[in-house]
Subunit: 296 residues, 2 copies
DNA sequence: TAAAAATACTCCATAGGTATTTTAT
DNA sequence: ATAAAATACCTATGGAGTATTTTTA
């Protein structure tokens, strides 16, 4: 059976064209080297050297096999190095899911950091709602999710990384745009635009219950999956909404954001990953998330 | 030190994801297999498997290294196969020199045969006179020469493969074109076109001495290196020439070839190669030359 | 005859085997 | 309780060393 040893020895002899010197270079005696080369030739089924006792020369086949052998050892080095990089989480591929609002908030910061620190890990991004992310995480279709807690699944690990105040989004033309802040009760007769409850039950219920504490049940005139859509609808005067403050980053014309007077309700974003997945690139990614987003 | 054994074992375990079954497949016991994998991991500096006693799983780095390992073993197979082909003279490269007249005669037959029997050997052809071929052979710049004997060099082996009659080449307009054959004495007063003596001393001297036996010294009015040129000059009425019969293949308009009445002088072509060069593709080529050109 | 590869043999390192333990399900 | 990997220990193959012979320039 051919071993790498044979190739290493062969390369040495081919380079020295002298068994004695090659043996010296390999820190071994000459006879076993002759043996191993002979054995290699037997395994290969062809001569590597023309041997005339006094001089050693590569055969034509030997020359070809020399080039191939060098390539092989070099590739092994490469393979080891690549393996080590993957092991350190410096090379690989990550598939990431995120809710649309994360795109305005945490994602840009984290991705910029990750890309600069670990450039050899390819990132694949998929925008999708929380519940879909949970399925994809379980199926291994994504490795990391940026989503809205809570998550019940015991197989998934979840850390909240952002907790931001909610603000009221009003059409530019609305009379309340002059107020410095708004109490919920002032919105009792407004039409509300919200996301469908299954998308983020906790946030949804929070808003509803706050309104009820303010003495009214909100009149939901429209639902929309995407935050962009909600903001657009507000701009269009369809109604008002309560959105995470980071949406201000969108700079949508025709919309004014106002803080709430109430003890501020919060929108949360969390990272989630499979508890038993110790893939180094995931670990590396989570480290960077931690660095960037130490949650107070 | 990593050996191919390690890779073979690793691939087996990675494919079975079960040390026991992998060991069985490798016709060995399970403990030494565990040992070898452990040793491999130590050499690599990273884990290949997540081992939880009850289940074996590839790590991310392990997956990458698995693909690389498979590639490596496959490439070794390839290298061995290529080496064997080269050894059998079925793959490689040959550089061949030939005198211009060989192009009308032996070369086409031999090359056609060789290309069909040994398609994977690349041929490089260089037209050049005999003396230059000898230098290039000695320098290793060509491997095979088709040239005009004799060759004195002891380091070169030479076999004559073609011995063909010489014929007289006359301009179409010449009065002797009606004769069925020609005696040299009939050409005593003609102007002769010949190649320079150094190009093929034997053939040159042969022609001169034949003329002298016929009672005259030929009047050489023009010399030319290439047979084509000689024939063109004859066609142009500059003079007559004595050329190998295979030149008739050229079908040059304006020239008529006539056999000689004299005991036919002969033009020879030989193959030459370095005696101590046992490169299989050369051997293979020479075999085919022998097959095709068994000299009577 | 001198230099270098091949042979002959000897030895020991280590690959591989056997028996057993550990551990997770 | 059981299946599977790890650990401990032993065995023996074969890789490597030493001494010697063979070969040819």
């Amino acid at each position: 059976m051919i071993e790498l040893r044979h190739l290493r020895y062969f390369i040495a002899v081919a380079e020295e064209l002298h068994f004695g010197r090659a043996a010296e270079r390999l820190h071994m005696a000459q006879p076993p080297l002759s043996q191993q080369i002979k054995q290699l030739e037997a395994e290969l089924g062809f001569q590597l050297f023309h041997r005339t006792k006094r001089s050693v020369q590569l055969t034509e086949a030997g020359q070809v096999f020399l080039a191939e052998s060098r390539k092989l050892l070099h590739q092994l080095e490469q393979a080891i190095e690549t393996g080590r990089q993957v092991n350190r989480g410096e090379k690989g591929q990550l598939v990431i899911g995120f809710v649309s609002s994360a795109a305005y908030n945490v994602l840009p910061v984290i991705l910029r950091r990750f890309r600069s620190q670990v450039p050899a890990v390819r990132l694949e991004l998929h925008e999708m709602p929380t519940n879909e992310q949970l399925d994809w995480l379980r199926d291994g279709k994504i490795d990391i999710g940026f989503l809205r807690p809570p998550v019940e699944d015991k197989a998934l690990q979840v850390t909240t990384i952002v907790r931001e105040p909610m603000v009221v989004a009003l059409p530019e033309s609305h009379p309340l745009t002059d107020a410095s802040q708004i109490t919920l009760s002032q919105l009792a007769n407004e039409g509300f635009i919200l996301f469908p409850r299954p998308l983020s039950p906790r946030a949804y219920d929070q808003i509803i219950s706050l309104c009820q504490q303010a003495g009214f049940s909100p009149n939901v005139v429209q639902e929309a999956m995407q935050m962009q859509t909600i903001v657009s609808l507000v701009a269009g005067g369809i109604g008002v909404s309560i959105v995470p403050v980071s949406l201000e980053n969108m700079q949508r014309a025709g919309v004014v954001y106002k803080p709430l007077a109430e003890p501020t309700p919060c929108a949360e974003i969390a990272v989630a990953w499979r508890q038993n997945d110790h893939s180094p690139s995931i670990q590396r990614f989570l480290e960077i998330v931690n660095q960037a987003m130490v949650l107070r």
